[in-house]
Symmetry: none
Subunit: 255 residues, 2 copies
């Protein structure tokens, strides 16, 4: 068991309605050795019911970071996995929950990993899912899949503990230490750069964007870009932008 491996994991709850669920989440996390709770626009927090349901995990509640946006909560994360109860019309890249846990633990040397849980009734919006590199779905009875929020956190936290060797299993492997994964913030800059370039090229119509950016996000999230790869892609966009600018402002004719 490597408790250090769990320190890089953020549990992010988006728009939670019932404070009791926040408390029960803190308890579920602490039971499995997780400590970093992020709350994006909780409906009520702090609240007596949250503290009551935390029953002993008050330290996790007290240290929780309350954010205005999901972007704040996942800032600097190199892996962001959303949880989803229902199948989506456009397929997001999927991971099983055991695989998700392994990937999150493997992050250790790169940066933080975030597991994002949506609202009790409505889950995550498409815009929030756009921020996620992968989606994971907890396997459950298709005829009764109303898994409670804290129960979902409990199951994923347990799998994280197992992946961290909590059952005495093998320690996780590690990737190229000289080329770390790009962070969420770097990826967002890239997407903004890509979007403005595509508009400049006339390939993306800002008045009728359809699903173009969502599809491209999905592609680049899935590949898990390294820092160096991201720089190459941004270099390509910059080269393209120079040509667009030159076309827009042609150099003065030589005398």
């Amino acid at each position: 068991m490597n408790p250090q491996a769990l320190r890089g994991i953020r549990i992010v709850l988006v728009g939670t309605t019932h404070p009791g669920n926040i408390g029960a989440t803190a308890r579920a996390m602490k039971n499995m050795g997780l400590t970093r709770l992020f709350l994006v626009r909780p409906k009520v927090f702090p609240h007596a019911e949250a503290s009551a349901r935390a029953s002993g995990a008050d330290d996790v509640l007290a240290a929780a970071t309350v954010c205005h946006t999901l972007d704040e909560a996942i800032h600097n994360c190199t892996l962001v996995v959303g949880t989803s109860a229902r199948p989506r019309s456009i397929a997001w890249p999927n991971l099983g929950i055991r695989e998700t846990a392994r990937h999150c633990i493997d992050q250790g040397s790169h940066g933080d990993a975030a597991l994002v849980f949506g609202r009790e009734k409505a889950g995550l919006s498409n815009e929030e899912l756009d921020r996620c590199h992968f989606l994971t779905r907890i396997p459950c009875n298709p005829e009764f899949s109303s898994l409670n929020l804290a129960a979902s956190v409990q199951l994923l936290s347990y799998e994280l503990r197992m992946a961290a060797g909590g059952d005495g299993g093998a320690p996780p492997e590690c990737t190229d230490p000289d080329d770390p994964l790009a962070t969420s913030a770097e990826l967002e800059h890239f997407y903004a750069h890509l979007q403005s370039t595509l508009i400049g090229l006339g390939f993306l119509d800002p008045h009728n964007p359809r699903h173009l950016m969502r599809r491209l996000r999905r592609l680049y999230h899935r590949v898990r870009l390294t820092h160096r790869e991201l720089n190459i892609l941004r270099g390509m966009l910059t080269a393209c932008g120079r040509h667009l600018d030159a076309g827009r402002h042609p150099p003065p004719p030589s005398p």
Copy 2:
């Protein structure tokens, strides 16, 4: 997934104090496709709080078998596993919870398997543990191991579902059957198109290409592009190429 495999599993709660925990247990079971709940001398049952916490798993509660003794609850079982939160002075034979789940599912052809959960505070007595063939302990933070009863049932029920094949095996990389993966030949066309565009942009020097194309190949191979994604990328290259051509052959000045 073989739902039949879960029918031979009994969840046995011994001496439960809080009816809410019985309700939450029913919900946790039904979420994972388990249906057979046995209650040995529950303090209060039935109870409004049990029904409230079951939130939709009332059928599991209504079908629960209330027993006077643990022996009644495990009658005819060919495997009985007790759950324990604390280490015992005399070592019972132990199984990990994943192993426990596998053994329980393997019972199928032999008879029922019972998972026995003790009282909220006191767990199982030594006499009750004597009835168990094995003991299992859910891995958790040794400094905060107060796992709620329903949370323990949730975790074991989940492992049972996984052992019964409930994760449907490894998730496919591309979940959309209408959008197959790109073929090698399509990828080669894309790489050639990408390379000529990058040369046109002045980003790739054909006399000193370094490892640029190799890095880009690695990136796009890794992501396993779908046919539709490849078309989007090629569309972007074509749009870029049109601008390059326009720059090279500027339209005649308007009169």
